[in-house]
Symmetry: C2
Subunit: 198 residues, 2 copies
């Protein structure tokens, strides 16, 4: 039996992959990833590779390991998860009324008996917010929702009522471009949703 492993502890990535009908196990990557470069697409691709490679090195046999990383960029600045509530408020005050970019990188390591193939890609989605008042931002931050999210918001949560529009893949913003992941694997002759995987 071949295994698919998601190298991420993110509940959002797990949900997206489950909803897509993929059978997989979770082994979160551990240890600090090293940020290299300044281009957001390159950063998320690198980090997704580091996560997948770290987990692939720990497991044996035929396996497909999926690593992923998401960041938010605004006017050339890269935004990660907020340090505290005030940081989340500052981030959302900066993003409100404007368009920012969300990048998610994905690396898939496909190891068979005879070889190992690594596929890395990234997707970018532009997200535009309506103007949001400080009172509305503080009410949202008080829910605790922003604290573990790149860019300090969850597009599926209460802050979604301020999203004017997006351009790109919705799930890239959630944390995993699952349709592109399935499509790219299909191009390599792999059906991630097959019953062959456990």
């Amino acid at each position: 039996m071949k295994r698919i492993i998601l190298a991420s502890a993110s509940p959002r990535r797990r949900e997206l992959l489950e909803k897509a009908g993929v059978h997989f196990q979770i082994i979160p990557s551990q240890g600090e990833e090293q940020i290299t470069g300044e281009d957001p697409a390159q950063i998320v691709e690198d980090l997704s590779w580091q996560k997948a490679a770290q987990v692939a090195a720990k497991v044996e046999g035929e396996v497909i390991v999926i690593g992923s990383d998401t960041l938010v960029a605004y006017e050339g600045n890269v935004l990660g998860k907020p340090h505290d509530e005030e940081d989340a408020v500052r981030t959302l005050q900066m993003l409100q009324g404007h368009t920012h970019q969300v990048y998610t990188g994905v690396t898939v390591i496909v190891r068979s008996e005879s070889d190992e193939i690594t596929k890395t890609f990234s997707k970018r989605t532009d997200v535009t917010f309506y103007p949001v008042t400080e009172e509305e931002i503080r009410a949202y931050v008080a829910t605790g929702d922003p604290m573990d999210k790149a860019g300090s918001y969850d597009i599926r949560g209460d802050f979604s009522v301020y999203v004017k529009e997006i351009c790109g893949d919705y799930n890239t913003v959630v944390g995993l471009p699952v349709s592109t992941l399935i499509w790219e694997m299909k191009q390599m002759g792999i059906d991630l949703r097959s019953e062959d995987y456990v």
Copy 2:
């Protein structure tokens, strides 16, 4: 106490409005709406107005009535809900691998003691599908999910794994551009999420 009434039986519109924190009642519009014109934006605006006006005429007192209509357009042809399973298969075969447009029109009738204001707008979102095989389409249609949806799919359902990207408001595709609705009302001095409404 002022009332907000959603003039729609759509469970998707109800969910979106509930999730946005709006307190409202549901009185679905009844009777056949008349399609006028050929421009998709004009059609959904007209139909949303007919739905809102039909319900507003039945209720008394201070009230806000929200009507909405959604359609899918592909290469100039307007697509409604499928007639049967084969119609859904044909529609999805036409849409797969291509970009189509989803239009949702919204009309809000705001009636106070002294006057009545009607606001109508529409939003368009472009949706691009990856190529999808007939086998995959038939498996999806067999779930029954397409049958009550314009364009024969629910972007939140199992067919979402084939969505490559969208450009526009996500909830416009679900059936109600709730962020724009809240924003437009705010511009009129109305906070739809206020506790003043029942």
